[in-house]
């Protein structure tokens, strides 16, 4: 099992969600985040005060998938979140040791 953590553009959420659903991923957690990477921030001007905004709003999505689904899920995110411009985000994959469904007590792949 793998945890997919992807940072995507805020307006790409619906497309990514649809693509993941199409790939068989049936659960997702979304968080509003701010951060920076290669994409530059912007300046904001309030009367005489100028502020450089380095941290841009992005969305962080997290999904745990079985090893069998991993490739398809990554492909789904990549294709749906891409605009070909700096700032499209990143995907991180980490190993997950255990998953438990709280209601039934099912574990691992059955619990995903």
């Amino acid at each position: 099992m793998k945890l997919i953590t992807a940072i995507i553009r805020t307006f790409k959420l619906d497309e990514v969600r649809d693509a993941l659903a199409g790939a068989g991923v049936n659960g997702l957690t979304v968080t509003e985040v701010k951060g920076y990477g290669r994409q530059k921030g912007h300046t904001e001007l309030y009367r005489g005060a100028e502020y450089v905004v380095d941290f841009l709003p992005k969305l962080k999505i997290e999904a745990v998938v079985s090893d069998a689904l991993l490739e398809a899920a990554l492909e789904a995110i990549q294709s749906s979140a891409r605009t070909d411009k700096v700032g499209d985000g990143k995907i991180f994959v980490t190993a997950v040791e255990a998953v438990i469904r709280i209601r039934t007590g099912e574990i691992d792949d059955d619990a995903i």
Partner: protein, 507 residues
Amino acid sequence: MNHVHALTKRLASPLALVLGALLVFASNTQAQSETAPAETAVTATAAEAAIPTEAVAEPATPASTVDVAAPVADKGDTAWILVCTAIVIFMTLPGLGLFYGGLVRSKNMLSILMQCFVVFSLVVVLWTLYGYSLAFTTGNAFFGGGDRLLMKGLTASSNGATFSKGVVIPELAFFAFQAAFAAITCALIVGAFAERAKFAAVLVFTVLWFTFAYTPMAHMVWFFAGPDAYTSAEAATAANATAGYLFQKGALDFAGGTVVHINAAIAGLVGAYMIGKRVGYGRESMKPHNLTFTMAGASMLWVGWFGFNAGSALEANGSAALAFANTLVAPAAAVLAWTLGEWVTKGKPSMLGAASGAVAGLVAITPAGGFVGLGGALIIGAVGGFACLWGVTGLKRLMGADDALDVFGVHGIGGIVGALLTGVFAAPSLGGSGIWDYVANDVVPEYSIGGQVLIQATGVGVTLLWSGIVALIAFKIADLLVGLRVSQEQEREGLDISSHGEAAYDH
């Protein structure tokens, strides 16, 4: 000719007229009401077209009983001033509160609203107890007297003068109208030291500054004996001797460019220097937390300003309509000026810039009110817009003070520009109303633009000095009594929680 001229200059300030009327009535406090038939100058002269002229006499001395009815307040005038009073109150609560509140960080939202709310209420109470008397009764050239202390003798039947002979309004309406002015002036100041001042210090300062800067400035600029006192050259000289210092000099201030805006702005600037910069100023982001509030607040200020400026005519007449129209067009020109200036120099036209431009234009047109024509108003607005844009950028950097919400940049610069340009555009040759001579009941034929601008500059200088010095002392005293600012920890946490124990938002 000469003295008539000099005297006419003094007559100019409209509010002063009202005050003057009040004076007349103040003297008969006990006898209140029933303004007895005035035997004096029952000028039937239709000099001021549309304005019935009868003398407002002193009830106590019913001289020869010429059968002239005592002036009765016109229902239209009364209704107008009461409505104006209510919308001027709306300027502070919530107008100014939202305009300022949107500009602070979210952790200080309630503190700024609270300061506006409590300063407003505090000043209204002080105004009732003694402020009105100190500002608008006969005293010396700088302070009024005690005729209306604790509202002595002020009843529903007391009348006050307007700017027309024989025309009166209920003195209570004038009292309330002016209370709203005093309150917003004191509330304006808090923007300069927003986000770090100790609440108790704000209150101590307000009591002192209101007493020793606001009331004397209002007296100096606006107090005079009222038009009915000006029956002859000799009477005019005598009446002038009882007027406020700047009124005697002939300074024109229709609705409070000096008394309200410059007065508050310099006090705020002194406060910003004395309280010091906000923690992290210049290094951390202090961006406004909600410019939607700021836009809404600025718009409320604009609407309320019709009461502020047009109401300062004290009658529902042509002068009020002129001030109303000027209050419409000057800010519009200022919005365009600020927006254009920002677009050209900074690259983007901002909503905050447009809202700030509106306030700048409103401030600039305040002293000009019913003295200038529409063309003059457009120019005053545009110049005010550009000047205040500089006030919050170039000048602000030069001064180096953390005037958090640009009280001086907008109200100080806008007020000074407006006060000086009033001297220019009040000229009849430039479409202005000139200076009214209550003895001749006509506009003074000659008008010296240079001379009037010099007088206006004197008014600006006196205001800056007087208010600045009083503010310095008042902050010093507040510092000794309660301390001026909160601890660094409390400032970091935000004044909403640390000073008031509540939060504007759940995050």
